[in-house]
């Protein structure tokens, strides 16, 4: 290596870190690559349009006994709430009621009169319920409970089989009731 070339190389080596410090920070790249099969057990979300709904199905009749066994202790018979919840105290929410939305009081909100989409009901039961045993229910049981709650709320016919095809098609009565508070912050 000629002296000139060695000096030039030395200059580049010395300038490198200084330039890096003045521009962007080096990124360490310490993540480990994963494949879809690696993450399958965690990949559970269901979007509003039903994307992510798994195979399986259930009906209200199948859901009724599961509701009695796993849900009614906190949400009341038929999801109509406990005394605590009906008294307005902090409590597991009322799932089904004949209350109409009234003024600005969201305590009258139920799934049937409020939720804009049906698939998030499957999502929430599967990820978070029962409160003391989340993700203990099979997908069939979650479909059956979804059907039961929607049927009790008179959103669907009690005989409808709920699955990945039928649930996204359930038209929730309050589908068009919502508006984003800050439209300028929505993805575009």
């Amino acid at each position: 290596m000629s002296m000139r070339r060695a000096l030039a190389l030395f200059a580049i080596v010395m300038a490198g870190p200084a330039l890096a410090a003045n521009t962007s920070v080096e990124s360490p790249h310490l993540g480990k690559p994963v494949t879809p099969s690696d993450v399958a057990r965690w990949d559970i979300e269901v979007l509003a349009d039903g994307t992510g709904l798994p195979p399986g199905e259930g009906t209200a009749a199948q859901g009724a006994p599961i509701f009695v066994a796993k849900c009614a202790a906190c949400h009341g018979d038929g999801g109509r709430g406990t005394d605590l919840a009906r008294g307005g105290k902090p409590a597991p929410p009322i799932l089904v009621s004949d209350l109409k939305l009234k003024g600005i009081d969201a305590s009258h909100a139920t799934i049937a009169n409020y939720w804009p989409y049906a698939p998030p009901l499957f999502d929430y039961i599967r990820r978070a319920m029962p409160w003391n045993e989340s993700r203990s229910l099979s997908d069939h049981e979650v479909y059956a409970l979804t059907a039961y709650i929607l049927a009790e709320g008179k959103v669907i016919d009690a005989k409808l089989v709920i699955n990945a095809k039928t649930l996204p098609k359930v038209m929730m009565p309050n589908r068009n009731g919502f508006a984003p508070r800050f439209p300028e912050l929505m993805p575009r």
Binding site: V25, S27, P28, H29, L30, G31, K32, P33, V34, T35, D38, V39, W42, D43, I44, E45, L47, A48, D49, T51, C74, G88, K89, P90, A91, P92, P93, L101, K102, G103, I104, D105, A106, S107, A109, I111, Y114, W115, P116, Y117, P120, D123, Y124, R127, A128, W131, N132, S134, R135, N174, G177, F178, A179, P180, R181, F182, L185, M186, P187, R188
Partner: protein, 443 residues
Amino acid sequence: MKRRTDLPSQHESEQQVAGNGLLHRRALLGKGAAVAGVLGTGLGPNATGAAAEQLVEPPWGREIGEDTPPYQVPSKFTKNIARTLSNPKFEPRSSIARTPHHLLEGTTTPNGLHFTINHTGIPDIDPKAHRLLIHGLVKHPQVFTLDALLRYPLTSAPAFVECGGNSVPLFSPTPIQADLQALHGLSSCAEWTGVKLSILLEECGVDPKDHSKWMIAEGADAPHLMRSIPIAKAWDDAMIALYQNGEPLMPGNGFPMRLLLPGWEGNLNIKFLRRLKLVTGPAMSFWESQVYTEPMPKGKIYNLTFLNEVKSFITSPSPGQALKQRGIYEISGIAYSGRGKIAKVLVSADGGKSWAEAALQAPIQTKAFTRFRLPWRWNGGPAILQSRAWDAHGAFQPTRSEFVAARGQLDSEPPVTAFRNHHCNVITSWAVSSTGKVTHVYA
């Protein structure tokens, strides 16, 4: 000095800048005047004309003190400075702990007093076994350990975190008689340190010009709490927070890592963060379809309310405290805005008829608590204290009538712990009676 508890002197009346005794924000600076704290020991010097107390040597000056603990805890004399718990018997529902703003000062919430809401208990996470997965519409899906994240460039920033349900007792048509902790205790401010989310997303092959997608953020706690977040926030100031006021996150605040979205609705700042998935649309999860929603008077319901709007409240004096003597007090409070910095805070002592500009404690930091202070001479008569904040983007707090016109109010008084609507930033009013009692009022 001897005139401090008498009627205002000529000098001091010149400094009165708004009705009912509000003094100029610099009135007391450098003048050697003492300020009576609301929680002070009572009477100041010469207040009653009694002789000075005979000073003695107390026992702690004559004995060996206590052993030094490895992790300090506050004095036993300050045990009252604690969070209030909504679910002390841990029944099967959410557990909410509120910050006692009326017993704190400055702008940083101590870690043990930061508000928390946990819906299915606090998970006991082994940080070595915790993983953060970033996947979905990314070129290179990856999983990160805590040790890996600690080798990334870390940044620190103060940020308030506020529950969308903070202050909602003020939707009541009548002022609920509760203290500051019950009304505004679901907001806290800490210095957070962590990895900028933009660095991780870029490593996963996401184009930083992409503003079209949503992120599903999910926790490792039992309900795997999930929210939908516009990706633009990642390119702005989102962080994977690992430290809170210099120490690892408190378990109730998301140990070992949480999503921090400065200025945005608390529930979006997913704790125990274990998964970020890029998708094309929102999930409209339970939290977006029912909980964090705002029914409006004319029928529409707002949701996806990302921002916490500008807010302020007076922490001292506040309900539960009592003014024991007339004289000079310092009105002190907290202001913050999810849009950026606080620009100004006005204070009134006459229920909004006249206003004076409060001093803002430097440094004023974006999306963080800003402490405001203003000296006030209480003349022993009734007063209504209010604060009203403006942020650097020109947004300001609505008066009671403006707020009710826009957002409505409930038909009847709810339990103070109920969440009947969300996102309330109306002006708060404290009445001081002629006996010095402080209560919550509407004005």
